[in-house]
């Protein structure tokens, strides 16, 4: 691979409250190439390759006797103009690390306390053809302790789904991608665990 790729300049197309639109001006083997992207951050030539986490997604589950239940949320998503099922998720606040953010989102969105938490995947890009948004994902055993504390525009209901029914549930509902995939990951990981293969 002998391609000479250089980011020459970063042009701000427009800034919005949650997201910004940029054009990256590249030179690829001495030929110009312009690329549009969106970012949650303020981008410049220097921070375009910086490691960062914009947001976290948490897969919360509760243990009740021999059963495991997944805590899904049903939320009105404005970009979709509809209610969809999903997992608690949210952006990091200034000065917060990913783990703190995850615990806060679990408390706010489903009124739960984290008992045990482990990364489901290491940080990764949500859609690297379109955006540099990078997220961390977690599996979290929780206990439901209190009330949600929602922002004015958030419309969130809670739905518990038994782990046994999870595959069918995610295959037949409209959801966010991480919600579907983390469900399947968790399901097969637990199954493997049961068989004593992990």
């Amino acid at each position: 691979m002998n391609n000479n790729i250089k980011l020459k300049s970063v042009e701000t197309v427009q800034k919005f409250d949650r997201i910004n639109v940029y054009t990256y001006h590249f030179s690829v083997n001495s030929r110009p190439l312009d690329y549009n992207l969106v970012s949650r951050r303020k981008m410049n030539k220097k921070n375009s390759t910086e490691k960062h986490i914009d947001a976290t997604v948490i897969f919360p589950y509760i243990k009740k006797g021999k059963d495991t239940f997944i805590v899904f949320i049903r939320q009105f998503r404005f970009p979709i103009n509809d209610y969809i099922y999903d997992l608690p998720a949210g952006r990091l606040e200034p000065g917060e690390d990913a783990l703190e953010c995850a615990k806060r989102e679990v408390a706010e969105e489903i009124g739960a306390r984290v008992l045990k938490i482990e990364p489901a995947t290491s940080p990764a890009y949500t859609s690297p053809g379109l955006t540099n948004e990078c997220i961390a994902t977690y599996f979290a055993q929780v206990e439901m302790v209190g009330q949600q504390s929602l922002e004015e525009y958030e419309v969130i209901d809670i739905e518990l789904v038994n782990l046994k029914d999870i595959n069918k549930f995610v295959d037949t509902h409209t959801m966010g991608m991480t919600g579907k995939m983390l469900s399947k990951m968790f399901y097969y990981q637990q199954l493997l665990n049961k068989k004593g293969k992990i």
Binding site: V13, I19, Y24, F78, A89, T121, Y125, P128, G129, T178
Partner: protein, 192 residues
């Protein structure tokens, strides 16, 4: 709880592939503007219609009873770096998701698709900001032809035995779907 009502949709940027739209909602009798990023031309009428914009495919093959997964290493302009990932692409006009998956396998890794099974049904990649919908597949492939890359596409293959894929996705920067699909594939194979 009242459902927010979409009153109007305005296009606010004019770039070739991805644009910002302003969705004007009314919620609890108050106006609530919300910016939405989309690959499609959005209107008030199509705003709640689920559409698959893209496909992601995990290609694998079996050789001497061992299973191998085919990753790609690609320069991603939006993150100004080479990253590992799985083959993926936009669904062309008139194409089904399965057809797009088979085409991407030919173009990006030079493979013939022998069988295709769904990993997840249509889902939203990042529904707080985007309306992008994606369908994902596991594909058994045969690497039997040259890649057909577009101008500006820079893609190398990285083939790993199944035993190594978990460490690989944990230790490398990738797209999140690629990481999750790889883990689902691994656990599913091991459960057999």
């Amino acid at each position: 709880m009242q459902k927010p009502i979409l009153k109007s949709v305005e296009k606010v940027t004019d770039t070739q592939y991805t644009n910002m739209y302003l969705y004007n909602y009314e919620y609890n009798k108050k106006l609530m503007p919300y910016y939405v990023t989309s690959r499609r031309k959005m209107t008030k009428q199509n705003a709640n219609k689920p559409v698959a914009d893209a496909v992601i495919v995990l290609p694998y093959f079996v050789k001497n009873k061992k299973t191998y997964v085919v990753f790609i290493k690609e320069f991603r302009y939006a993150v100004n770096s080479y990253i590992y990932d799985l083959p993926a692409g936009l669904i062309d006009k008139g194409e089904t998701a399965s057809e797009a998956a088979a085409r991407e396998l030919v173009e990006e890794i030079g493979a013939t698709c022998k069988s295709l099974i769904p990993c997840t049904t249509l889902s939203y990649v990042s529904p707080g900001c985007f309306n992008e919908g994606t369908v994902t597949f596991f594909a058994e492939v045969e690497l039997d032809k040259p890649q057909q890359l577009e101008d500006g596409e820079i893609i190398d293959l990285h083939i790993l035995p199944l035993e190594e894929v978990i460490d690989f996705v944990d230790n490398n920067i990738m797209g999140v779907q690629g990481k999750m699909m790889t883990k689902i594939f691994y656990y599913k194979q091991k459960c057999k």
